[in-house]
Symmetry: C2
Subunit: 214 residues, 2 copies
């Protein structure tokens, strides 16, 4: 793949997982080739937008003939690092941690969950989705020994910043933070903060707009 | 509040919940007034971006003197419909439904959860966070009688589209969809699709970029 020299804009990066999902869906339906127009209609973005986005990564093949779906999945998967088999741990085995441990779409995307940690002795030693819950005291050793890529944090907000420091010091590669608190770390350790209530607020906005129309 | 006539761009709508969160955080720290420069630094967007965003809604007061935090929270909250006390139900009382029922940030944002539904008779009748789990057969009556605003779907993907039809026909105002399947409904019923694995894929991309730097 020929990589374009231009810096890929944030919005394009954010769209890549969506492309990946739609293309996987096409392959599930045994659709092997798709024109940018058909993809555009399905995804509700313009065909020229799609071509522009893809051009950041070399274009992915001819437009006239359409895109090869499997090739595209593989290329975008590579760009997203989905073929690297990143390992994950979940820290915080409460309701959300438990839900995420059972979230099959993570596994389908090539990530493997190899550890779950909590500081509550009542649940340490139990199993979630076949994985033993360990004491949070073991985190540093575990991350080092297993060269863990990603830590998913579902902790009370008060505990997040300390935990992030501990993880950074033992070499974690990135953090997915579901705790309410906004987390920022040195550029070398990327963080994605997930705010579930943001989406709810956006929905609330749209509902209000609809109500005002009527 | 003087409403600007221009259509508010999607990106601005998406930023509103983030402004709301940061401003709430300031108020928690008893900070009552903030300049667009200080807000800009905190939120990592330019001050001119903030002013542009706010101008879609009339500007929210003078720049030189700074913004009144409480006033801003109230105005943005109004725009987001957070002062309307929207009611919610959760459909699907599995791990994720259970986690969301216990997710306090939803309640803090002014939404009230008034019902949980499932089709599994083994859990119908039990309670989650003080709310009784009802049979999914009761959904239509419940939505009509209680004039429910929002349904949160945490269902297997195969069940989502039928459920959305049922909800639309009994007058739901909006849907927050956590099921893997992308849901689209008539414009009159807004939908927000949450794809937890998209964020994980974005993180994976950033980790890969970092690895390639080293």
């Amino acid at each position: 793949m020929e990589m374009n020299e231009k810096k890929v804009p944030e919005v394009v990066i954010k769209r890549l997982p969506r492309y990946y999902r739609y293309l996987k869906e096409l392959l599930n339906q045994d659709i092997r080739r798709i024109s940018s127009n058909a993809l555009s209609e399905m995804m509700n973005v313009t065909a020229s937008q799609i071509r522009q986005d893809f051009n950041y990564f070399g274009g992915f093949g001819q437009q006239g003939y359409g895109y090869n779906v499997e090739y595209l999945i593989n290329e975008i998967g590579n760009i997203l690092g989905l073929n690297d088999g990143d390992t994950m741990i979940i820290i915080g085995a409460g309701n959300l941690g438990r839900a995420l441990a059972n979230h099959n779409s993570f596994i389908k995307r090539g990530f493997s969950l190899i550890g779950i940690f909590d500081n509550d002795n009542r649940i340490v030693g139990s199993s979630i989705n076949g994985i033993k819950v360990r004491s949070d005291q073991e985190i540093e050793d575990f991350v080092r020994e297993n060269n863990v890529d990603i830590a998913i944090l579902t902790l009370p907000r008060a505990a997040v910043h300390d935990m992030a420091k501990r993880l950074t010091s033992c070499g974690i590669k990135g953090i997915l933070n579901f705790s309410y608190s906004e987390l920022e770390l040195p550029e070398s350790v990327p963080v994605e903060n997930v705010h579930l209530s943001d989406t709810l607020m956006t929905l609330s906005y749209r509902i209000k707009q609809q109500k005002e129309k009527n």
